[in-house]
Symmetry: C2
Subunit: 140 residues, 2 copies
Amino acid sequence: MHKMNSKNKTFIDKLRSSGLRPTNQRVEISKFLFNRKKTFHFTVEELKNSMNLKRSKKISTATFYNTVHALKSAGHLKEFSLENNTSYYDTNIKSHHHFFDNGKVIDIKSDKITFHKLPDAPKGKKIKNVEVVIRLENNN
Amino acid sequence: MHKMNSKNKTFIDKLRSSGLRPTNQRVEISKFLFNRKKTFHFTVEELKNSMNLKRSKKISTATFYNTVHALKSAGHLKEFSLENNTSYYDTNIKSHHHFFDNGKVIDIKSDKITFHKLPDAPKGKKIKNVEVVIRLENNN
DNA sequence: ACATACTTTAGAATAATTATAAAGTAGTTA
DNA sequence: TAACTACTTTATAATTATTCTAAAGTATGT
């Protein structure tokens, strides 16, 4: 039997709206992801490690993957890729852009980049979204 | 003993400037990649399959990976990632952008996209490049 | 409290990539 | 050109990220 406070509600709603029953594991993952002020960038492996380090009873890899995927499909997480064959996720789902600096990711607010010219979508297609990556290197 | 025509020279130079001895395998890969009019997008697996299909003596996976990596490091290929954990390479190394349409990649010439506003690089950093991805979906 | 469908989990399976080390080849030098 | 050495190729094993499987556990409606 669970005591539910209003804070948990958010996390549970995110799960429910992703078609997931709010099990203990999922609620903890959801809390871990969304109970923070700043945007959080992570890989599933990183998420698993940082959560499981603190826990006596570990959450399984499959559960991390399942939960992250469902949250992403429901639009609660954004997915993106770097050049190292792992998927990164971002708790900031608002349209925005990224700096990439040697594997480190920094968000760029959407309004920091505006376009003067954009191409039309090919026939029969329309633009779903536009994503800008600004790669950085050290000065001098 | 090899007969070398002027056409091969280009491919061999690309290898040499990548720090690679122009072995038969590498020259054939280099030709396959660069002896074409249109930009070529590929994964290493695709490259391997399309080249090896035609050959009686197959080139090994490791050689494809090694060669592609060296060419990429030397700047003869551009690497990019989609959300499926495989690296894509592009023989068009000029700064340009991409449409992504369900895993299919279409080049966008650099001058088709111009910016009205771009953020400054963080302190101590400078912008190496700016890459735009326009994701497409079907109309209606 | 029951039943049932959904979950969790450990471990196997898969896919992309990288590492290993033995056999082969290019480039240099005598 | 013969010989040498360093670089290559290759098959195969290893690794990494991810997905699948099927048995045991749990949430939810009645």
